[in-house]
Point group: C2
Chain length 324, copies 2
């Protein structure tokens, strides 16, 4: 579905009457408008945020592209379930419902330097699984992921979608530098060469299966389902925005109900944001994933809704307006 233009018109009208100079709340005004458009109500509401973290395991992790061993994906999922990770603290701080979605962690995708990471069925199943994250009653959906080696998958998928080489799209991820980063770049270039026929066919969903991962497919499913359910979406960092970019490559309007929460310190993210023409809400040098930055941006949405709904108009407050 498209934006609710009636709600949007109502918001714009009210913004102009509230006791502040026109436009002086900057992006908070833009956020209120966006929330109204995609929630389909003139009084936006951010009382029930959900944080959804999708965890996937990657065959390409065996190539030594991360600073951490592959088993850290499962260990961190356990940490999520025990409440010890950053996202647990951040979700609690915004009173969010935190859900961890595990994607068959004991069976990593295939090493995509050797062939497709997944067949179409596996990618479609992951996408359907991701759709479960968007349930009725949620006011905003914060999306993120966990998966050792998934910045390698993100960089490969971005290069497949937008062109360029491993060096253009790869970064340190969990902390890979020097020779190890050169190796990561070589692995990505190897994958791009392996999949050059698929890349030439320019089918974003085929590329998602070929060089993505299950958490990427699940994220695309969640974004689509949120749109159907009138739930605005906050995208987290590089991997999450890459999953979103698959949908954007299919349809330029597919992400209109999404905002990017934060500009990741991972350099590929800035390149991707330029391609998507999306301006992130925050820029705090984070590069953790786990939906951490998406959760961190929720108070901005709460603030935007609170100002919009709660402020007095010039007439109500007896304040002289600009033209008085």
């Amino acid at each position: 579905p498209g934006p609710d233009l009636t709600a949007q018109t109502e918001v714009v009208r009210r913004q102009s009457e509230l006791t502040k100079p026109q436009g002086s709340l900057g992006r908070l005004e833009e956020i209120a408008e966006w929330l109204a458009c995609w929630q389909g109500r003139a009084q936006p509401r951010v009382e029930r945020p959900r944080v959804a973290v999708f965890a996937g395991t990657h065959g390409v992790a065996a190539r030594g592209v991360s600073a951490y061993p592959p088993e850290v994906t499962q260990q961190m999922v356990k940490n999520f379930l025990n409440g010890g990770a950053a996202i647990n603290q951040l979700a609690a701080a915004i009173d969010a419902d935190l859900r961890i979605y595990e994607l068959d962690l004991d069976h990593p995708t295939a090493d995509f330097t050797q062939g497709p990471a997944m067949d179409e069925t596996r990618a479609a199943n992951a996408m359907a699984y991701g759709m479960m994250a968007a349930e009725p009653g949620i006011d905003v959906l914060c999306l993120g992921e966990m998966g050792i080696a998934n910045t390698t998958a993100a960089a490969t998928l971005c290069a497949a979608l937008y062109g360029g080489t491993g060096a253009d799209w790869a970064g340190p991820g969990t902390g890979v530098t020097g020779k190890a980063l050169a190796h990561k770049i070589a692995v990505i270039d190897e994958a791009l060469a392996r999949h050059k026929d698929a890349i030439a066919r320019r089918d974003p969903l085929e590329l998602l299966a070929a060089v993505g991962g299950e958490e990427f497919a699940a994220l695309t499913g969640a974004i689509v389902a949120a749109r159907m359910g009138r739930i605005p979406v906050l995208l987290d960092g590089y991997a999450c925005t890459t999953a979103a970019a698959v949908l954007h490559s299919v349809d330029r309007r597919a992400l209109d109900h999404c905002l990017v929460a934060h500009r990741s310190a991972e350099p590929g993210h800035t390149r991707l944001l330029d391609a998507l023409k999306m301006r992130p809400l925050l820029d705090l040098d984070m590069r953790l994933g786990e939906a951490s930055a998406a959760a961190l941006a929720v108070p901005l949405l709460k603030a935007a809704a609170a100002c919009h709904n709660g402020m007095a108009t010039f007439a109500e407050a007896g304040v002289s307006s600009k033209d008085a």
Copy 2:
């Protein structure tokens, strides 16, 4: 007092043990360290924020430098007290104690194009009044202001402190453009010419009285008192940071316990941040004042403290560390 280096060392040690790649929480890690330094405790706390808004009236407002008439200062104070302004909604969203400090609103400062805005006694009294905002038990102090014509005062004070002309430091403020902005610039240049001897003497406190305003003096008092009381400070926008700059001109370390919450859309603010070498936490095109952006940044501090205090270490969570 200076930073608590013992608390800082403790924070840095713990950060390196938490279940995340080193540095991956970006500025949230920097914030946790800063809070610990200036609160003097290894477990930073952001449970009791206070928002202090200082309102002042300006003789120069009679020169028509604002898009709004001078009486809007008092009208907006009434709006604050009735709960209808943006800052009321934003303070409520962070469970902050909101205090409005009125500075003799019925007696505006003198028009500083004709002479000093205040004598030393009046400036000192305002400074002492501002000190009341920093009471024991507050975890963070959000500072802001309200005062029709105070971006004119801010621009004049910045030019007096750092050099440059009205055109270098003036911006639209509440929405002044075209001929009206040219007039505002001319008024500032007139004031700079009037006070050229004082500017040549380079005494920041004399300049504060000459071309500032009572809310500026009160803000400097609040910043100093917060330092004495071990309360970290969030600075709001252009006028607030200008008041802080007076102290920085006296002593380069006077603002070490302060962070700038947001880069104002007012262009002089970016120039001032460059001079102070301070990087704001947010960049959301706001230009409202009222401590609105300072309040909006509090959830970032809460998040930083929550992650720092609540996350599990690698050992506690049984997660393989990078060197494993």
